[in-house]
């Protein structure tokens, strides 16, 4: 009898251990511990460790636990599904796992508007005062189009058309300021065996389209498209956007579509370095990403906004902004907000800037050097305005992904598998379905 009880007990222990094994790993929830999760992007992980050290030095009672990974979504979402949330997450939108977008759609983020009025620890300005104008209050930070800020802008970087400055100098070409000049240059370059345009993968067309929409129809039209106004894809402006794009895609390097996949996209980027294509949409990370790639003599990275639709027309430069947010399910929200405010202190900003992570803080552009200084120069041009945002969040609609419809179809336009009319009607359908799903 004794033996049997023993066996039974050990089996029970084994089974319990199994169940318990699945549920460990959450944070202890004890006061004073702050869970921070961050994406390990191109800026590396050291800057977070340093910033956290600085924060802990100023707040001896707080213990910050950092989780950082290149696929941070995979590491934190299982716990989040089980109801255990990190307190602060530094993770932008546009990632494949779309964790930020999902929480936005779910309305599962903490309202961070009060953080903007918080005085930065150890300084006498508020967070809101320190940020550059126009960086909050757009769909990227206020995803529901209201006055409430849910996503704090962390790092910002211009995205636009990257090209080889050296080649333009050698050939005596001007960087085109209008689309007419652009297409004229396309013909000239074609005669020398150089394609006008390429893209790494179709997904990189996001910055291109956002800028073009605003260039063609102004910021109001851009917002109409982003918020799925009725019939917006059937307007003349939308027509013009697709006209310009299909015409540009005619000039795309022949290799583009074949290389526009996860495995080969750097080969498209290499076309620019090899002087086989003139322009590609990309972000400032390209310099680091292609640092070791071979390149043509005299190669020098340049960044330009899209050409204007007409002489002297407005030009917008899509600005990618990474975000920091607090999930509604977080336990230490007050400490988390304090931590967020600290991220904008001079001390933290200096640490971030050292790792090339540029925060949208007034006056920071003057402190930059090298290629970065050059890239952030594009904001100095009075005819160029920054454009932040992206498609508004709606309740998710099964099977409808307007980004995929807008960007990926470019591959089919180049290869001739779809026509402009099909593209336009697919966009119209997707936009209408999302509008009905409601913001």
């Amino acid at each position: 009898m004794m033996k049997r009880t023993l066996v039974l007990a050990s089996a029970a222990v084994a089974a319990l251990g199994l169940v318990a094994g699945c549920s460990t790993g959450g944070d202890s929830g004890s006061g004073g511990t702050l869970g921070v999760a961050a994406l390990e992007g191109g800026y590396g992980r050291d800057m977070y460790t340093k910033v956290i050290e600085a924060f802990e030095a100023a707040h001896p009672d707080v213990d910050v636990e950092l989780r950082i990974s290149k696929s941070i979504e995979d590491e934190i979402s299982p716990n989040m599904k089980a109801g255990r949330f990190p307190d602060v997450v530094v993770l932008g939108q546009g990632r494949k796992a779309a964790l930020t977008e999902t929480l936005v759609k779910d309305k599962a983020l903490e309202d961070l508007t009060p953080v903007l009025d918080t005085t930065i620890p150890g300084e006498d300005t508020t967070v809101g005062d320190k940020l550059i104008d126009g960086i909050v209050g757009n769909l990227n930070t206020n995803p529901y189009g209201t006055d409430q800020t849910y996503l704090m802008p962390m790092y910002y970087a211009p995205t636009g058309l990257f090209y080889n400055k050296g080649l333009f100098a050698q050939q005596g070409w001007e960087v085109p300021a209008t689309w007419d000049e652009m297409f004229a240059l396309g013909d000239t370059a074609k005669a020398r065996g150089i394609a006008l345009f390429t893209y790494p993968t179709a997904g990189y067309l996001d910055s291109f389209f956002f800028s073009l929409l605003a260039d063609v129809g102004g910021e109001d039209f851009y917002n109409d498209v982003m918020t799925y106004q009725e019939g917006v894809w059937q307007t003349d402006e939308a027509q013009q956007v697709l006209d310009i794009t299909t015409r540009l895609l005619d000039y795309a390097a022949p290799a583009t579509v074949g290389y526009a996949n996860e495995q080969d996209f750097t080969k498209n980027q290499q076309l620019i370095l090899d002087n086989k294509a003139l322009f590609m949409p990309n972000g400032t990370w390209i310099v680091g990403e292609m640092a070791d790639a071979p390149r043509a003599d005299g190669f020098q990275w340049g960044l330009t906004p899209l050409p204007a639709v007409s002489e002297g027309g407005d030009r917008y430069i899509t600005t990618s902004v990474e975000s920091a947010w607090i999930p509604s399910g977080a336990e230490n929200k007050d400490t988390a907000k304090e931590f967020l405010a600290f991220l904008y202190s001079d001390e933290a900003a200096a640490i971030f800037a050292e790792a090339n992570a540029i925060q949208p803080i007034k006056g920071i552009a003057d402190t930059l050097s090298g290629e970065n200084a050059e890239f952030y120069q594009v904001y100095e041009d009075p005819a160029v305005s920054p454009l932040v945002g992206g498609f508004a969040s709606t309740a998710p609609v099964p099977g409808v992904d307007i980004k995929a419809t807008l960007f990926d179809t470019a591959n089919s336009i180049i290869s001739g598998d779809k026509t402009k009319a099909q593209w336009q009607s697919a966009l119209h359908d997707a936009s209408e379905q999302l509008r009905q799903a409601g913001a």
Partner: protein
């Protein structure tokens, strides 16, 4: 499963029926419980990690849910009704079926042929060939994707480079960029990956077929081809049936990893397969419930195809 004997149900019998004598001594109630306890850990594991998640997939497919929000909305079969109108889903389904058919037929045919040649013909260096052909099956899919990215490169890849060297430029293709070709490019990579594995499986079952059968057939004047179809094939039939199930699973699973690593479903969704589309819907598009509905379709589809294949290939097992 268990050895506990049922209590007698016959009320008319006053004395319990004598127990069946057991050859291994007497195993009473206690040992039955012991067996049960021994099975328990495995049973718990199986229930927790197999049954519960599977049931959850079915349950979630009836909800509109992003995956995180605390209030999933019950929508019944709406997710499934939507699938019928979803062109991308239909394309992904077609692609999966096409891969299933093409990869199965080609891999099975070639693997059988190679196995027969290697076991029946005393080829010189066959151990070496077997080794070389088996290597791809131990490679990680990411490595395979990198290899095939180099093979398919439109400018200086192995295929187009060879065609250029042979002055056959008009046969050159953009292997991963042409929407009519890309699926076959993926299929070829899958065949390349799995052929060695199945070849070794077939070789092992062919090698136990007694030599006398072939000798007798040869004396009767049967050619190698006749011997293959009348002796080899019927005798390894059970093995073939098993591998058919493997083919179905690998067509569904391997195609996902390979597509994600090699083409990302592109260009413009033309190489999307069911699992990659499920991932995109469940995560990228935040429609977890819809993604799980696709998961249910995959489950039911694989199950039905396996059942169908198993039924249609059923033969009386031949002994030797």
């Amino acid at each position: 499963m268990t050895t506990i004997s049922a209590p007698p149900t016959d009320v008319g019998t006053p004395v319990p029926a004598p127990r069946r004598p057991r050859p291994g001594g007497t195993r009473g109630r206690g040992s039955g419980r012991f067996v049960f306890l021994c099975l328990l850990p495995a049973l718990v594991l199986f229930v927790v990690f197999m049954i519960v998640p599977t049931v959850n997939v079915f349950r979630t497919s009836l909800y509109a849910w992003s995956g995180f929000s605390p209030d999933p909305r019950f929508v019944g079969f709406e997710n499934f009704a939507r699938l019928l109108d979803d062109q991308q889903f239909i394309r992904a389904f077609q692609n999966t079926v096409a891969l299933l058919v093409v990869v199965t037929v080609v891999t099975m045919g070639v693997a059988l042929f190679l196995a027969a040649v290697m076991t029946r013909q005393r080829m010189r260096g066959r151990t070496f060939y077997r080794f070389v052909l088996y290597v791809p099956s131990v490679l990680s899919v990411v490595v395979i994707a990198a290899i095939f990215s180099a093979v398919y490169d439109q400018e200086n890849g192995l295929i187009n480079g060879t065609l250029q060297a042979l002055s056959l430029e008009n046969l050159e293709q953009v292997w991963l960029g042409d929407q009519q070709i890309v699926l076959y490019s993926v299929a070829f990579a899958m065949v390349w990956q799995s052929i060695g594995y199945y070849m070794v499986l077939y070789m092992s079952s062919m090698s136990v077929v007694p030599e006398e059968l072939y000798e007798a057939a040869a004396l009767d004047g049967a050619s190698s081809v006749t011997q293959f179809f009348t002796i080899t094939l019927p005798l390894i039939w059970q093995n073939l049936r098993t591998t058919l199930t493997f083919f179905i699973m690998s067509a569904v699973n391997l195609s996902f990893v390979l597509v994600v690593a090699l083409t990302g479903g592109g260009p413009d969704g033309s190489s999307e397969v069911l699992l990659s589309y499920m991932y995109k819907q469940a995560y990228t598009n935040s429609t977890y419930g819809y993604g799980m509905a696709i998961g249910v379709v995959i489950f039911v589809f694989s199950f039905l195809v396996s059942l169908l294949v198993s039924r249609t290939t059923r033969r009386e097992p031949l002994q030797f």
